[in-house]
Amino acid sequence: MCLAIPAKVLSIEGDNAMIELGGTQREASLMLLEGVSVGDWVIVHAGFAIEKLSEEDAAQTFALLKEIMESGSDEVH
């Protein structure tokens, strides 16, 4: 029930958005999130958008991955 996956905002009317979620369209409430625009990616949980996703934020994860991959490992005995 805690499943929350990325969805794309297709249209907005007041506090409601039409989103595309894994190939299907459904409504989501924007009551819990400020500054959402058409074309944004959001995390939707139980019918509510709870966070915006951006390319820059995703890039941060890759930066973390790069940093960890380049950090030294223990000597192999």
Partner: protein
């Protein structure tokens, strides 16, 4: 799919697994995930086997359905038998056992239970059917609490008189602190729940890290996210550090979601609450605030939720605390299977026992 596929890149997964195996100490670092979606993702992607011998991944009480006490199911069933009441619920609550029955079995006997995707669907139903009393079974953690609160606020704004919520909302950091103090569990690091953290941010884990000296890393849900969090935890162990780090910055801002927290603060108030298999954890629950008492099904319909520790051979409690793995329960895969679950961990697809049953557990 955008924001998903790139975090499943097999070459990167292989490289990261190899790095973790190189960096791992002996004995393996013991890490707990406290989110059902992590449990399911780890099982589905076979990470427990891939990392066996390097890190030991144990599952905590990460599925809200799993920790909902049987007294809650009993109260919901009692409500459902009152005339004029329609229960609305997330689907995975229907087969959770109460003391004697489940909502699914009672539905077959005639009570009106409807599955909804969002608590707002229950509000819409109340508006569409003014002659029936619509009760939403408000089960969840901090991720779901704002949605339940938002539905209550919407019903209040629309002046609906026939909508209420039977609350069963729990907050995770208090449970993590209890588990962190338990010497039998011996947790050396937490994979903090990603979507709970979307709401609460990273600050609530600071006390766990500083007071209990346990490294905490907020973790996303794809294989690379989980491996990244594991490597960050290993790095902290190597440094002798215990701090809070964020391996899921695309989903979690350090301050969380302010608007969602405001809805929680407006609609709910903290309370002590019972967790199935664990017991009462002070301050780990959210009751409906007095301002919205008219929408509290417990008060409105006089059906109290009574918590008592279960007396059952089912060992879900020990599974939820990471003390045993599902196959160590005498009922696992025999008397208790997904089609006919005895304990809550076998009910939900995010339950630890269900994940083990479906995907196998791999080595510890």
């Amino acid at each position: 799919m955008k924001f998903i596929d790139e975090f499943r890149d097999p070459a990167a997964v292989r490289a990261l697994v190899e790095k973790i195996r190189r960096d791992a100490g002996d004995p393996p670092m013991r890490l707990m995930e406290v989110c059902g979606t992590h449990t399911a993702s780890i099982a589905r992607s076979g990470l427990r086997s891939l990392l066996s011998g390097a890190v030991s991944l144990v599952s905590g009480p990460g599925c809200p359905v799993c920790v909902t006490p049987d007294g809650y199911v009993d109260a919901a069933i009692a409500l459902g038998h009152k005339p004029g009441i329609t229960l609305t619920s997330f689907g995975d609550m229907l087969r959770v056992p109460g003391k004697r029955s489940t909502l699914e079995k009672e539905r077959a006997k005639g009570i009106d239970v409807r599955v909804v995707y969002s608590p707002l669907d229950a509000v819409a139903l109340a508006a569409a059917e003014p002659d029936r009393e619509i009760v939403f079974l408000g089960v969840g953690f901090e991720t779901t609490a704002p949605a339940i609160g938002g539905a209550i606020r919407t019903a209040s704004d629309r002046k609906l008189k026939n909508f209420s919520v039977l609350p069963s909302v729990r907050t995770i950091p208090e449970a993590m602190a209890i588990l962190a103090r338990d010497p039998e569990i011996r947790i050396e690091g937490f994979l903090c729940p990603g979507h709970v953290s979307v709401v609460i941010g990273t600050q609530p884990y600071e006390e766990l890290a500083s007071k209990h000296h346990i490294p905490c890393v907020v973790c996303g849900f794809e294989p690379l996210d989980i491996l990244l969090a594991v490597s960050m935890l290993l790095r902290q162990k190597k440094e002798g550090a215990a701090r809070v780090e964020n391996a899921y910055p695309r989903g979690v801002a350090p301050e969380g979601n302010r608007k969602a927290r405001e809805v929680i603060a407006e609609v709910f108030a903290p309370c002590d609450t019972g967790w199935r298999g664990i017991g009462v954890i002070p301050g780990s629950g959210l009751r409906i605030s007095d301002r919205y008492a008219a929408f509290d099904a417990e008060r409105k319909h006089g059906v109290p939720v009574i918590f008592a520790m279960e007396d059952t051979p089912c060992r879900c409690g020990d599974v939820l605390k990471g003390k045993i793995l599902p196959p160590e329960c005498p009922l696992f895969g025999k008397a208790c299977v997904p089609e006919e679950p005895v304990g809550p961990c076998m009910v939900s697809t995010e339950g630890t026992c269900a994940a083990y049953y479906k995907y196998g557990g791999g080595l510890r």
